[in-house]
């Protein structure tokens, strides 16, 4: 198969050339919004097919569910967002360095297991730092797990997509074995509950968002987003990683050690996914790892979050909030009599459709351009030209 040459000089079409002037951020944000809208349309269509009479109400609930019960619902939005943000950061960070980390599920479950293990077994730790140690353990475990595909990619040129997918399954089954030998609750066929002392603290958030599951996790996720932003854009490490991600030939020419950078970026990406695992299984909601052969869904949702957030740490932060919001809304849809499975399908279609944001990039550019043109033409009162220009812009991009 022929590789697409990213480094080829641009031959600009009219719209592309014009688009250079439209700020990149504007295009990114607009295309994300556009894809969210398309996702909602698709979700709506599914509802119309399944249960037409409740479809409009259902849609309204998805959109407003995050506020349905006031502070409590919004607290849950934050709760659901937490691991999504961290998983999204994991995928996005690797992506900035030119790597596709699909190993979120494995890194999350490994990190989650270590968090539970530390939470359950290391009770000798003082309770103030118990959860911190458990979270750090989760991050380290995730990093360790991601280092394997990283090393394989760097020194054996094994494609990271293949390696990370394999590591997902190895991680899942290994964790299931380890649970049975350590923190197994045979009555419920799942892990033992983590004692309250080792769970994430609430830092008064439960007072603001009463009755919700919200915890310090969301604060951690926000802080981590900012740290990742700083690493990517303000440090020499981030500069190197972006260089490798954009153009590995130029990185080689500049004397950057590409192999080491691949390992670094996988380590950091893995640590982020591990932290996501920590926030899932140490949350006050008290989630357990069940003994079933099923990959953690947050690992894959992370890909969607990263795509919608354009791999930008702050974009990922907002994309994570959005998905958490939709998830919470989905929870309330049960009141419209939709089955849980249908709700999951609708949410999944919104999420994954939204993640196609990249596809809408050119469309978004076009829309901005057309609006700009339309606006200017009204201003200039040049009516006849307007229509033709619209036509040719459309053609070029299609």
């Amino acid at each position: 198969m022929r590789k697409i040459d990213k480094d080829k000089p641009l031959k600009l079409t009219t719209s592309e050339l014009l688009a250079l002037d439209v700020s990149k951020a504007k295009v990114s944000i607009l295309s994300s919004l556009l894809s969210i809208f398309m996702g909602l349309v698709l979700g709506m269509i599914i509802m119309l097919i399944v249960k037409p009479e409740s479809s409009f109400g259902g849609l309204a609930t998805i959109l407003t569910g995050g506020f349905q019960d006031g502070a409590q619902s919004f607290g849950n939005v934050l709760h659901y967002s937490t691991p999504l943000i961290l998983a999204g950061l994991s995928v996005g960070f690797a992506f900035k360095a030119g790597l596709f980390n699909i190993g979120g599920a494995g890194q999350i479950v490994v990190g989650g297991f270590v968090a539970i293990y530390i939470g359950v077994k290391w009770t000798w730790l003082p309770s103030e730092i118990h959860w911190i140690v458990a979270m750090l353990g989760a991050g380290l475990a995730g990093a360790l797990w991601a280092s394997v595909p990283g090393l394989l990619k760097a020194y054996r040129n094994v494609h990271e997509v293949v390696a990370t997918i394999m590591m997902n399954y190895i991680g899942m089954y290994l964790v299931l074995i380890l649970i049975k030998g350590s923190v197994y609750n045979s009555d419920k066929n799942e892990t033992v509950s983590v004692p309250r002392a080792a769970r994430l603290p609430r830092w008064g958030l439960d007072k603001i968002f009463e009755g919700s599951y919200v915890s310090a996790g969301i604060i951690i996720a926000i802080i981590v987003s900012i740290i990742i932003y700083i690493i990517i854009f303000k440090t020499t490490l981030g500069y190197q990683l972006r260089m490798v991600g954009h153009n590995r030939h130029a990185a080689k020419y500049a004397g950057v050690n590409e192999k080491r950078n691949i390992v670094y970026s996988m380590l950091i990406a893995g640590a982020l996914a591990g932290l996501a695992g920590g926030t899932i299984y140490l949350s006050p909601a008290g989630r357990h790892i069940e003994i079933v052969s099923q990959l953690v869904s947050e690992g894959f949702d992370g890909i969607a979050v990263a795509l919608l957030g354009m791999s930008h740490p702050l974009g990922v932060l907002f994309a994570g909030f959005f998905f958490g919001y939709i998830k919470t809304g989905g929870f309330y849809m049960q009141s419209w009599g939709f089955d849980e499975e249908i709700i999951n399908i609708i949410i999944a279609s919104i999420i994954y459709f939204s993640a196609l944001a990249l596809i809408f990039r050119t469309k978004a550019t076009q829309i901005i351009l057309l609006f700009g043109k339309w606006f200017r033409n009204i201003f200039k009162k040049e009516k006849p030209k307007d229509k033709e220009n619209r036509g040719d812009l459309d053609e070029e991009d299609n």
Binding site: R2, K234, T236, Y253
Partner: protein, 511 residues
């Protein structure tokens, strides 16, 4: 006199720039008309307007005396206008014939029928001596051949007005000659040709008239035979241009780079690409490596700079063995490298200009504190280089490098490489695809380095560069050095013989 094309007062604005400002262009039937201008002068924009890629903001276009509106390339095709773009628009895993018929395939009962098309292509190819094989796959044929496929594409669509956008940039000297013959033949048949270029020699060789643009403005249209190259260059650049740069006598000192019996192997088919190559570069000297493309020069430089593995042999820099040193160590020791492919190696196109200007230096204490980039210093550094090396771009240091013109991208690389503290500059095809002004500039910069007692290793396919700059010339043929001569003892003819492998220099006889 009737014109086939009349473009009157064409204006095309892009945000922030006026690419064409009331430009006039008139093309006679059966002539070869050169469109001359520096990079960014608006030549390509003007022709893109004619080809329907852009809509002009003002002015009118007449084809065969009738005012027309060309909304897209299909309209242009209908007016028998064809264009060979600088970057070919070919599907790489399709055959030549498939590429040519793309968009206007003959079908029989809903199936594509290629038989007639292939016949037509072969006829056209034979008629003009293009030697294109209709059934070869694009990725298997040379760049020169690919260009001929583009030409055939126009002919297949019965184009009478042919636009060539910088057609010689990718060709070897021999291919350029052949292309010019083909153009002359077209003109003789009554086809009208627009040749977009900034190479004055080519204009002199093939064109009848020449329209000059500068910074988006129409300067003049002149008869080529009545105008000297110097005059055209002056019109293009807006000031006098030195053609033969004065090269002063220079003291040649210690040896900086020693290459000893270097061998480089192709990892795929295990063939030797560089065979037993030895030479030295000394302080205050410009050593040029000449040769026809694909004779191992690229691999030689890649081996020296650390981008490619060395099979055997030694490379010494000053007194250090750097044969297997990593790229960064070589950079830090004082080797600057202006790479052959500026998009692949020289720049990260999605970085801003200022980010590209610290590509090898970002980790130095000057640009970082405890691992955090020192932005004020980076800004200052960029501003300085932009100012000193006159790098022009839309938004200064924050411009996305992708959107900077080729000449200015090259200037950015030159600025970065020459501003570092170096004792050896390795420049590979530094003037490729650049206009006269930029070429002059780059040649001057290299001579300046020589004056500062630095060593320069220059690899160029352009004999102009080699003859104008080098103190000593080594010629490579099939991976070997076949001659090592002083520049003043040789001439282009002799070099041509060495390059073609038909003659060997003293001390390099075949054994």
């Amino acid at each position: 006199m009737d014109y086939v094309i009349e473009m009157v007062d064409i204006t095309k604005k892009f945000p922030g720039v006026i690419a064409n400002d009331k430009v006039n262009f008139k093309l006679k039937k059966g002539e070869i008309h050169a469109l001359l201008g520096e990079n960014g002068a608006g030549k390509s924009t003007l022709m893109s307007v004619l080809f329907g890629l852009y809509q002009p903001d003002g002015g009118k276009i007449k084809v065969y005396g009738e005012e027309v509106k060309i909304n897209n390339p299909n309209d242009a095709n209908e007016l028998n206008i064809g264009m060979v773009h600088q970057h070919f628009k070919l599907v790489h895993n399709f055959t030549v014939a498939e590429n040519i018929v793309l968009g206007m395939e003959d079908t029989k009962n809903g199936f594509i029928s290629m038989k007639d098309s292939i016949k037509k292509i072969n006829d056209l190819s034979k008629k003009y001596g293009l030697k294109v094989e209709a059934n070869s796959i694009i990725e298997d044929i040379s760049v020169g051949m690919q260009q001929r496929v583009e030409i055939l594409k126009m002919l297949y669509r019965d184009a009478d007005i042919l636009i060539f956008d910088e057609p010689t940039a990718v060709l070897t000297p021999q291919e350029i000659e052949e292309l010019m013959d083909i153009m002359r033949q077209f003109a003789k048949e009554g086809k009208s040709i627009v040749l977009i270029t900034h190479k004055l020699r080519e204009i002199k060789a093939v064109a009848e008239r020449c329209t000059v643009l500068r910074k988006g403005k129409y300067i003049d249209t002149v008869e080529v035979k009545d105008t000297s190259m110097e005059e055209m260059a002056e019109m293009m650049v807006g000031r006098k241009v030195l053609f033969d740069i004065e090269k002063q006598e220079n003291e040649i000192n210690d040896t900086i780079l020693t290459v000893e019996k270097l061998n480089v192997r192709d990892l795929i088919n295990n063939k030797l690409l560089v065979k037993d190559v030895s030479f030295e570069v000394k302080e205050g000297e410009i050593l040029a490596v000449a040769g026809i493309e694909g004779n191992g020069q690229t691999q030689l430089v890649e081996a020296i700079t650390g981008l490619r593995k060395i099979d055997s042999g030694k490379v010494w820099f000053k007194d250090k063995d750097i044969t297997h040193a990593p790229v960064r160590e070589k950079t830090l020791q004082g080797i600057a490298h202006i790479p052959e492919d500026r998009h692949k190696y020289g720049l990260v196109l999605d970085f801003t200009l200022e980010e590209n200007l610290i590509l090898q230096d970002y980790f130095k204490p000057q640009f970082q504190n405890y691992g955090f980039l020192n932005f004020p210093e980076i800004h200052k550094h960029a501003e300085e280089l932009i100012e000193n090396y006159d790098i022009r771009s839309g938004k200064g240091r924050l411009t996305l490098t992708r959107s900077i013109s080729g000449g200015n991208q090259q200037k950015a690389i030159i600025a970065r490489e020459l501003s570092r503290d170096n004792s050896l500059v390795i420049a590979v095809q530094p003037t490729r695809g650049l206009d006269v002004g930029a070429i002059e500039y780059i040649r001057k910069s290299l001579l300046q380095k020589r004056k500062e007692n630095k060593a320069v290793l220059l690899l160029s396919l352009e004999l102009d560069d080699v003859m104008n700059l080098a103190d000593r010339i080594v010629v490579m043929y099939e991976g070997e050095i076949v001659a090592n001569v002083m520049a003043e003892d040789t001439n282009e003819n002799k070099l041509g013989l060495y390059m073609a492998g038909s003659k060997r220099g003293d001390g390099y006889e075949k054994n």
